[in-house]
Symmetry: D2
Subunit: 284 residues, 4 copies
C-alpha cells in the first residue's frame, strides 16, 4: 500500500483561494501531492481541479478522508469524487460482432496499460464467445429484439450489480441503450465511428465516402440519453483520399476506434476526467 | 516554351484499353509523358485520369491538340479539359475583414508557390484596401446589402469578365453567393472554417467549443448552389483541449484555414483536380 | 479464379513511350487494367510503375505471362516482378519478448486485412509460445548467443526454406541479423521504434526522453546489411509532452509500432512497393 | 492595469507542501489565481510550476513582489522568474534571405496573436529590407564573413542593448552564433528545418529526400552553445511521399517552420516555458 495514492476530482464555482484551500487540506495532514492540475472555465465561472497525493504518511485514515473533506467541499459548494489508486475498477465490455476493440482492450488490460479487471463481456450475439473463452472471461449472451428490450435491459442492470461493475465500455455494441437504462447506470463509455458531430447516426463510413471527405475520425464519449450527444472524451483522425473505398474507410476507421477508445478508457480509469455541462476536462 | 507541358484531365465510363488508348495518342505524336495518374471508381463505373506531357517535340501544334483529341474523346464518351503549363491563370481574391488568408495567398503567389496572377481583390468592406495597395493589387469595394445583392452580383460578374478571371477564391468572404451567380461562374474555391460536414453554417468555432470537441478542422471546397455542400478539395485538423477558449479555437483555426486553402488552390492551379458527382479526385 | 489479378512492378530508365508500351502489352492481350500508377524520378532518370489487371479474359495463360513479357522488359532494360493476387504469401513472424506487434499481425491476418498465411513464428525466447498455441501457429524457439549465432542463423535459413517463407517480419525481434543472413534472404521488414534517422540504435525511447522531443515516431523498413539504414516503407508519429515519462513514451510508441508495421506489411503483401537505391515507392 | 496579471515561474527540488506554500503566498495577499500548472519530474527530483494571478486586489505593490517572494524562494531553493502581463517584450528578428518566417511573425504580431514589439530586424543580407520598410520596422544590415564575425557580433550585442531587446528570434538566419555571443545573450529562439535530432546540420531537406523519409518535421528550440542541441520548445511534422521532390520538401517545410516557430514564440511571450537541464516544460 505504500505506493497507493488518493485522487480528488473537484469542481466548484470559481473564487479566490481555492488552490490554497485544497492544497492546504492535503499539506496540513502531511500529504505529498504528486500531481495537481487546475482549470478555470471563465465563461462558466467554474473551477475544476485534480489533486493526487501519496497515502503513505497522510495522517487521516483512508476511510475518514471523505468525511473530513466534506465540510471543505460544502464551504466551496463543490461536486467532488475521491478515488484510491489501489482500488481496481471492474469493467464490463459490451460487444456485438466486431472484435477489434474487444481484443484491443483485453490485450491492453493484460499488459497493464489499463488498470482494471474485465469482469464480464455482454453481447447481443454469440460470435465473440470464443474470444472470451480464449482469455477466460465471463461471457453473457443477451439477444435484443424490439419486443424484449426493456426486459433484457433489466437483466443487464442486474448483471452490472451482481458483478459490481464500475464502468461499462460499449466496444462496438450496435444497440441503442434506453434513457431509462442510462439514467440508472451512468458510467458508460462508447466509441463512435465518426468524427462527431459529423456523421452522427448510422453508417458513418458510407456517408463519409459519399460526401468525399479527405479525413475521417472516431470519437469516444460518455453515453447520455441523447444518442451521439454525450460529453466527448477523445477524438482522432486519419487522412483518406479518393483511392479509399468504403471498405478502406472502415479498415482505417478500426485502427482509429481502437486507439481512441483505449485512450478514453485509460483516462477514465486514471480518474483524469471531469464532466461538466456537456463537456469534459481531461487532465493530462 | 521548351519546358512547357500540356495536361489532359479526362473522365469517362470505365472500359478496357483506356490507359493504352490515351497514352498512345501522346506517344504516337512523339510526346513524352512526365506524369500519368489514373483512378477507377468501380462503384461509379468511372475512369479518371490526368496525363501531363512535354510540348517540346510533340508533333501536333498546340492550337490543334484539342481538335485532334476530340474524336478520341467522343469514342470514349469523355468529359475532358486541356491545359498548358505556361498559361498563367488569373485569379480574383474575395475578402471581407479578415486578412490572414489574403496575406497568405499573396505571399505564396509572390514566392511562386502559386503560379497565377492575382488580378483583382473584391471586398464588401474597405478594411483590406491597404493590403492591396501595399502589394499593388487592384481593389474593388462592392458593399452588399439585402437590397442591392442582385445588382452588386451583376457588377461582380462584369468585373470577372473584364479582368478575364479564371478562378475566384473566397478567402474569408463572409457573404453567400446566389445560385444564379454560381451557375454563371462555376470556378470558385471557398475556405470553410470547420471540418465539414460538422458545423456547417455560421459560427463553427463557437459551436465546436460548446460541443467540447477535441479536434477542429478546416475545409476547402468548390462552391455550388448548396451552401457548404460543394465538392471537398482538402481538409486538415488540429488538436484542441479544454484549455482552449473560443478565441484560441479561432486563432488555431486561422492557421488551418491558411494552409488548407493554399493547398487546394495550388492543386487547382496545377490542374490536379477532377470533380465528379459531388466528389473530387485530387491527383498527387 | 475469376477475380484474380496480375500485377507487374517495373522500374527502368526513363524514356518516351513507356506508359503506352506497357499498357499496350496488356490491352492487346485483352487485359482489363484496374490500377495503373506511374512515377518518374527525374533526378535518378528512372521510371517506375505498377500495373494490375484482371486475369479473366486475358489471352496469355498465366504461366506464360512472364516469358511473353521478358522481351519487352529487355527492350526497356527493366527490373520487374510479376505477382498473382490469388497466390497467398507465406510469412514468418520473428519476435523476442514483446507481444503487441505479434498479436496485432495475427488479428489483422485473421480479419483478412492482411492477405497471407502466418506459417511460422520464430523467437529467441519462449515467452510468446502461449500466443502461438492460442492461435494454432507453429512456434520455433531459437535462442541466440554470441557463440552460436552463425549456426542458429543457418538453422533459421533452413526453416525459411522448409516452410517456403516469402516474407520475414521482425515484429520486435531484438537481435541483429548478420550481413550474411540478409544477403541470403532479402525479404525482411523490420519495425524500428523511432522516427529514423533520429535515434537509430538502441534505447530510442530513453534517448527521446533525454533529448526532450515533443514528438516521437516509428519506422517500418526493409532490412539491409546496414543496421537501421534500409529503405523506409512507412513512418508515423505521435505528440508527447513533458508530462510523458519514458514509460509513457514506450506505451505510446507501441501503438505507433503496431500500425506502422501493419501498414508496411499490407503494402508489401499487395505488391505496392518498389525499392530503388535506398528508397521506396509505395504506390497508393 | 485592472486586467494585468503577474506570473511566477518556479523550479525547485521536489518536497512536500510546495503547492500549498506558493498558493498561500498569493492567497494571503488577496491574489486571485487564474492559472496554476505544476509538474513534477520524479526522475530529476524537481518540482516546476507556473502561477498566474490578477494584480487587481493583490495587496503587495508590484515593485515589491519580488523582494517579498525572495525569502520563500530561498527557503525552497528555487530558481524563479516574475513577469507582468502588461510589460510588452521587445523582440529582434534575425533573418538572411528567406522571408516566410519574417512575414509570418510580423503579421501575427500585427493581429495581436503575438504580444510583443518588433523593435528591430537584423540581417546579414539586404534582401529583406523592403519588407521591413513595408511595415515600418528598423532594419540593420550586418554582413558576416569569417574575418569580421567577432567584430560584427560585438555590434549586434550593442544593438540588442541599445534597443533593449528581450528576445532574439532567428527566423531563418543562416549564420551560426559564437558560444561567446550566446553566453552573453541567452534568450534566443531558433527554427530548425528538420525534426531534430534527425538531420541536424546543413541541408536537412536534401538529406531527408536522399534517406527517403515519409515524414518531415521542423523544430523550434532555444539556442545554446551546442549547435542544434538546445532545449526543444515545439515540433511538428507533415507527411511526404516518393512524389515529393526536394523542392516540394522545402515548400512543405516552410509551412511547418512558420507555425512551429510562431507557437514557440507565443509560448515564450506568455511566459509558459521553463527550461531545466536540456529540456523544456511548456505549460499548456
Amino acid at each position: 500500500m505504500t505506493d497507493a495514492t488518493a485522487t480528488l476530482l473537484v469542481s466548484c464555482p470559481d473564487r479566490q483561494g481555492l488552490v490554497a484551500k485544497l492544497a492546504n487540506f492535503i499539506y496540513t495532514h502531511n500529504g505529498n501531492i504528486i500531481h495537481a492540475d487546475h482549470h478555470t472555465d471563465f465563461a462558466a465561472g467554474l473551477f475544476l481541479t485534480r489533486l493526487e497525493w501519496q497515502l503513505a504518511g497522510f495522517d487521516i485514515p483512508r476511510l475518514e478522508i471523505a468525511s473530513r473533506f466534506q465540510p471543505i467541499a460544502n464551504s466551496i459548494e463543490a461536486n467532488w469524487q475521491l478515488h484510491f489508486s489501489d482500488t481496481i475498477p471492474r469493467i464490463a465490455i459490451w460487444v456485438s460482432r466486431q472484435d477489434h476493440c474487444l481484443f484491443d482492450l483485453i490485450l491492453r488490460q493484460r499488459s497493464q496499460e489499463l488498470r482494471a479487471e474485465i469482469a464480464l463481456i455482454i453481447s447481443n450475439h454469440l460470435s465473440l464467445q470464443p474470444v472470451a473463452e480464449q482469455f477466460g472471461i465471463e461471457y453473457v449472451h443477451i439477444p435484443i429484439t424490439k419486443e424484449n428490450k426493456a426486459e433484457q435491459e433489466a437483466k443487464q442492470l442486474e448483471l452490472l450489480n451482481q458483478y459490481q461493475i464500475d464502468l461499462v465500455i460499449l466496444a462496438k455494441y450496435m444497440q441503442i441503450l434506453s434513457s431509462d437504462f442510462v439514467s440508472q447506470f451512468p458510467n458508460i463509455i462508447n466509441i463512435h465511428h465518426s468524427f462527431l458531430p459529423a456523421f452522427a447516426g448510422a453508417n458513418p463510413y458510407h456517408r463519409a465516402y459519399e460526401r468525399g471527405v479527405k479525413i475521417i475520425g472516431a470519437t469516444a464519449h460518455y453515453v447520455t440519453e441523447d444518442l451521439d450527444e454525450g460529453p466527448i472524451i477523445e477524438q482522432d483522425v486519419v487522412r483518406v483520399s479518393h483511392r479509399d473505398t468504403t471498405e478502406d474507410l472502415i479498415r482505417k476507421g478500426k485502427d482509429l476506434e481502437r486507439v481512441v477508445l483505449a485512450r478514453a478508457v485509460r483516462s477514465h480509469l486514471q480518474n483524469r476526467i471531469l464532466v461538466y455541462g456537456n463537456r469534459t476536462v481531461v487532465f493530462a
